[in-house]
Symmetry: D2
Subunit: 458 residues, 4 copies
């Protein structure tokens, strides 16, 4: 509160003066109100330095009052009017071609930087600028499908955010029942994997001594978790999500836990899409838990397989499926009953077939780029985890059944193998899996993936 009123005060002071001189007065006054483009030019101009904060605040204030089409027009203006200076760029290219050197490269790099990058940096001068810029990109991302040309503007945001939200600037904090409510409500809102219905359920996830939650924060966005992970401390590897979330489960003492189950990882800020935190988060939480609870020896996820059902549907529908033989296909027929999971016979019949199909999917299915087809698998395998176990009916929720016929996966993080697994996956395309999983899908590999980097977590 004090901080807010402070900034308010300063803004009142500085902005009003700046507005008077610059004829920015929002109401009244003879001078025509300057356009956003003019304001952006002033923000960039050496001339405006004394009122940089005032200008930045004013532009952001105006931005917030725009409707959707106007915001898109603002972005188009950034694209068209605040790209690189073409004549300067041409000159830099000529100079470089004439006699290349570190200096000509530097000049070229500077000349090729779109002017809007500096606009974004200067908008950050405004109080709470960084949070507003994240929300601005959120809006921009929503425009992209309709206006793909704005990808160039998005690239500038992404570039700066990658630098600003570098892991070196982030802070890991435990989230528990003593965490401020305005942070906790965001945990409720952003939980993307296993919905949190209300405050009571939230409390069951963060208050018990055998439940933990950790989030990364940026120091200038103290109320905004960037990504968080929920952890269950247990004495064995959880096979189903209800083992973890059941209200009536038996609670254990944290000191008695041997296993940490990471059962949910959620990104919070759509505006930071493409800035990867998950890798660092998991590893830092592993290190943190090991230090506090030396008896913990197993670190494992309980993860969804979001692409499994769609892939399996395609295999079953294909005339000549590459990864499903006719016998397997036949065994999967009970899936056509939408209520199969409540039919004991169907369940019994499907168990071996679904487990085999899931193993095949994870070990051999590839996306067009030649990568593991499942995005969650790509994330954890790329981090160096091992595909440890496939769990039949691990998630009986409607979403779990719809997306993956209820299957869940454990990925194991063994710090002694992380680097080796990572190299194998990224360098040679191998999916490192436990013997049990390998036995489920013993045939020769159908396709060999190429070296790649994982794209996104889930």
């Amino acid at each position: 509160m004090s901080g807010a009123s402070f900034f308010g005060d300063m803004l009142q002071t500085i902005t009003e003066r700046g507005r008077q001189l610059l004829a920015l007065a929002p109401f009244g006054g003879d001078a025509p109100r300057p356009s956003l483009e003019q304001l952006c030019e002033r923000l960039l101009g050496g001339n405006g330095e004394a009122s940089g904060m005032a200008l930045a605040s004013l532009i952001l204030e105006r931005w917030r009052s725009l409707d959707g089409p106007e915001q898109a027009a603002f972005m188009t203006m950034l694209l068209e009017r605040f790209g690189a200076d073409e004549s300067r760029l041409d000159a830099a290219i000529d100079a470089h071609r004439a006699k290349p050197s570190a200096d000509t490269v530097r000049a070229l790099h500077a000349a090729a930087e779109p002017r809007r990058q500096e606009i974004i940096r200067r908008l950050n001068l405004a109080p709470e600028g960084v949070g507003q810029l994240v929300r601005m990109r959120e809006a921009l991302l929503r425009m992209l499908p309709e206006r793909p040309e704005l990808a160039a503007v998005d690239a500038d945001f992404a570039h700066l955010f990658g630098s600003w939200f570098n892991r070196g600037f982030l802070v890991l904090k435990p989230v528990d029942w003593a965490t401020p409510a305005n942070v906790l409500e965001k945990i409720i809102r952003y939980e993307a994997v296993h919905e949190i219905k209300d405050w009571d359920e939230l409390r069951r996830r963060v208050q018990p001594v055998d439940r933990r939650c950790f989030a990364f924060f940026h120091p200038r966005l103290p109320d905004e978790p960037l990504i968080f992970v929920e952890v269950a401390l247990t004495t064995s590897i959880a096979a189903t999500i209800s083992d973890v979330l059941d209200e009536d489960r038996a609670q254990i003492r944290a000191e008695d836990a041997t296993t940490a189950v990471f059962y949910s990882i959620s990104n919070c800020q759509e505006g930071l899409r493409g800035v990867s935190f998950g890798n660092f988060l998991i590893k830092q939480v592993v290190a943190d838990l090991r230090r506090d609870l030396p008896k913990l020896s197993t670190f494992v996820t309980l993860s969804p397989m979001p692409g499994f059902a769609a892939w399996l549907a395609r295999q079953r529908a294909a005339e000549r499926p590459d990864l499903l033989d006719p016998a397997e296909r036949a065994q999967l027929a009970p899936l056509d009953d939408p209520a199969w999971d409540r039919n004991p016979d169907a369940v019994e019949e499907l168990q071996p077939a679904l487990c085999r199909a899931a193993a095949t999917y994870l070990l051999r299915a590839r996306n067009p780029a030649g990568l593991a087809a499942d995005p969650v698998a790509r994330f954890h395998l790329g981090n160096g985890a091992r595909l440890e176990r496939i769990n039949f009916l691990g998630d009986r929720s409607p979403r779990g059944l719809r997306q993956a016929h209820g299957m869940m996966v454990n990925y194991l993080y063994d710090l002694s193998d992380i680097e080796k697994n990572h190299e194998a996956f990224i360098g040679r395309g191998e999916v490192i899996a436990s013997p049990a999983v390998q036995r489920l899908a013993p045939t020769t590999r159908a396709s060999q993936p190429r070296s790649v980097r994982p794209e996104h977590a889930a």
Copy 2:
């Protein structure tokens, strides 16, 4: 401490594993120790992602153990081996020339970015990476005079620091007698204008209710002030530094103060040279003080004139000085007595002449770029302050006498005029001064400066 041990733990965990695989083991082992260049390549490589923090820590650890020539060699390696990829850059230029578009510019910009920028970003992954990178640039800046070609490397550090230390990420904090000692000792060490001899003197500057000190901090460098300003709360505009620093001065209640005198501004981090904070610091402190002490109405500096004595010596030595007429030159003769300030006759004689000369220097002397010759004047005038008063024998310290024959200056920050003054100075080269100062040097302007931006504070 807890943070440190946490990171230590994590590093132990992750680094050791990473080292084993990567054959980085510092002692023993059969594999040859990889070179720093190899480590940097691995840090950049997609392959090393799982061990990015370990690699970054290892590189920084090695860097700290290098001697001066080895550090210079490291920088030269960054220059020569981690510039832009030339063939990629050539291709990007060709593509742009063939059919220019926002996309070809973006590709060009990316291709022209030296690879060492990404190395610097990834080194920031290491615990306390940002502080070590600042110190790394400090070392680099010391190399530059001997190795001007490293300016290209320095430009990359400067570019990233400008973005990371954007004012939007900084926090203003009061520095007082309840501030941690490890911060206060840095105030002692970094005070660049009026030396702080010991802890007792420090206490006199930060503890009394009519003395204030404020600093900017970066959230990830909580023990390192970036820049600080010392303020005296008074009932009139201080004319001499001893008015401010005298041990026996009469203390007043903060609520009774009408005037805030900014008598010292010091940058703390040589490694952040060129990242400008001073402008924002002064304005935010003005806003802060106004809020807390509504009776404060005058905000003024008590500043040195570091270039005055040298300029005056040149004028006096010149055959045909451009800004000193023969009568004035004659009046300044007593300056040749090095102890003139203790000779009442000399003092009386010199007062009018030195005041006139000082006014001339501030109003009309220009540096080769056509700017105000005095760097402190450039800073405050560029911020929109007004040259308010010239103070004879304001600083009788040896340094004050040597640099400026004891003269000091008050610059006035009047928020209603800041923008106008700034425009006048930057846009039209006018030095805005009080009538009293203008009267001291009434002749027509000798030279017209061009529009410029101030370079550095003092």
Copy 3:
């Protein structure tokens, strides 16, 4: 968490050693388990000092495992075995009677102190001892109706708590949406005046800029509010609770508020009954709000009249009511319809009569001790507030209708009159009321109260 594990560790260390020596081992071992009485003796004994913390923890641990009758037996033991040492007391009386002096009084005072007071002090040595002692007294208070003899033990708790929870040791903190959830859930739980149904309603009371909440905390009970007050910032004196709590009310800017309405004050710790905080809380919140929002000029409550309906029922039922004349009695007849508040005719008819009756009740009804009959009135008038306004149908909730036929009261805190009003009420029994309220019940005072102190807030 760190604190907890630290204490746990220390306890493990110290308690285990202590237990071994003292043969306190909870499981196994040959020695018979010492009784709680023996443990208390040891706690008092000089002999046990080295293990004071261990003993205190052990006693509290045992206490928590007792069932109700056992806890009552423990209290009876404190009463019977740990009173004053009678022979020592007799000797002290004799010495005092022989030759009274400051020293004999001191000896008498010491001898008359029940030994259980020192037990309570030493139980406070245990980690989190103070919180457990508060809960211990809570249990004791529940026993009192059945075991009035334990009042002597309760007096010892009350005496020490009065000293420990002295206002000088308390900290006022704002409670808002950035307050930790474990504190906020206590606000929900302890709200005694206008129930908070869920987290959404809580948020409406603490998050909007024109709603405030403040609580007193003891530094050693950081998660436990002791008492809290809810405040609405408005532009006029609220007359009904729905003005304040309505979900769809128009929100105002805090800076525009002229009036602070204290609409709910709740004590949180039954175990601290009799330790009065409310007086200090209101005055400190008034001071705090005045400082932050200088435009606030009116500080007023919106209070219930919890005893009104019962009093009025007695008056209406009495053969010869002292404060209700027959005409008034007749006008109140529509009250017999339990749904009168939804009947416009009844409402119109009752308004003047109920307002007159309420004014009579507040101005003239006395309890047996000669004090204002209404406990809330006693609290605010005793604090120096003025009875400002009576609000017809200010609270249409079932409880409001049941307790006070929906009437509410505004008490005004005018700092310039607080002391005068307080003196008038406490010293001379006068109820200071606004002219408007006085006009409602103009007859001569029926009874003159005697000087008193208010007992409890509401």
Copy 4:
């Protein structure tokens, strides 16, 4: 600062109103200024409740302006005017004698409580009251030698402080180089055992990783350490203070330490004399260090023997010393040379004799009460430590030579024996010592001490 201005504001608000009504206006006004006695009566009176904080502040403000004799007069007034109410006390005695019960004891206890105890509690209402009360008792303690009758007043302060500064309310904090300067300067000031000359020496004691310092704080006195202990982490039991304090000593990594040497314990608040903290401090620091550094296995002091030289002088001067035989006396003759410690022959000759004498002193010398003669020995033995080793020339400072001929002692805290040792010392008067120390003074015990509690730490 914010807190201060807040309280200032509130006081301004409340105090001024209170003063007006109570005719307390410090300047001007017709009413005569009330005496401190009148103010104290009002503070006690139910009548003054609304202005309790104002009155308390006013009394404390007046107190601060009193000179020494006036302060003594104030204390005498508390003694004479604010003792117990004698007629009430007499009545309570009569009632008790007539029919004793828990209730008559309770009434007696209440009646025997001097009214000044309630005054002290109410003075605590003032902002920063508790700190001022501690300083008030400091002044009172200085008066006692001249005015022994004030001991009764002192007893009231001591009684309340014992309750308020109960260990359960205190917080242990590490003191290091990141501690606020206003706390650190108090460490410099209060260090009572081995003087800290300046900030550089302070830094050497708190900044290195193998040096630690811990202090107890009261939450309402955050800038005032109550007691602190300095610890050296080492790999062996330090025998001399220069081992610990030498500027050029080799620093070790904290993780490599096996031994924690407590080389200085200092009480900070003379006003809290008699409230014992040292026992708890040492044990909590032991627990804290064990948790952070599991390799630590030995916890030992390096302590002075402040009474040794005086005791030895008496023995040597006595005609028939009880604990010094003629042969020993002869061997001690070189002590008569004041510079013996710089004479190698004298040093060699004295070493065995002084070690024997020191062991005799510690094991057998008794004070008049039959306790160990040395106050530091009494403290540590009473805490359950063992007398581990006697160190010849452990402290060559002038004070060390003067007080103890340079001898120092190690007391060992072994948590498994603490309770047993404590019992032996307190219960049976045995000094538990290592075999090595016992061998130094093998004769039969000269005197048998009685059970006692230690009085004060050193």
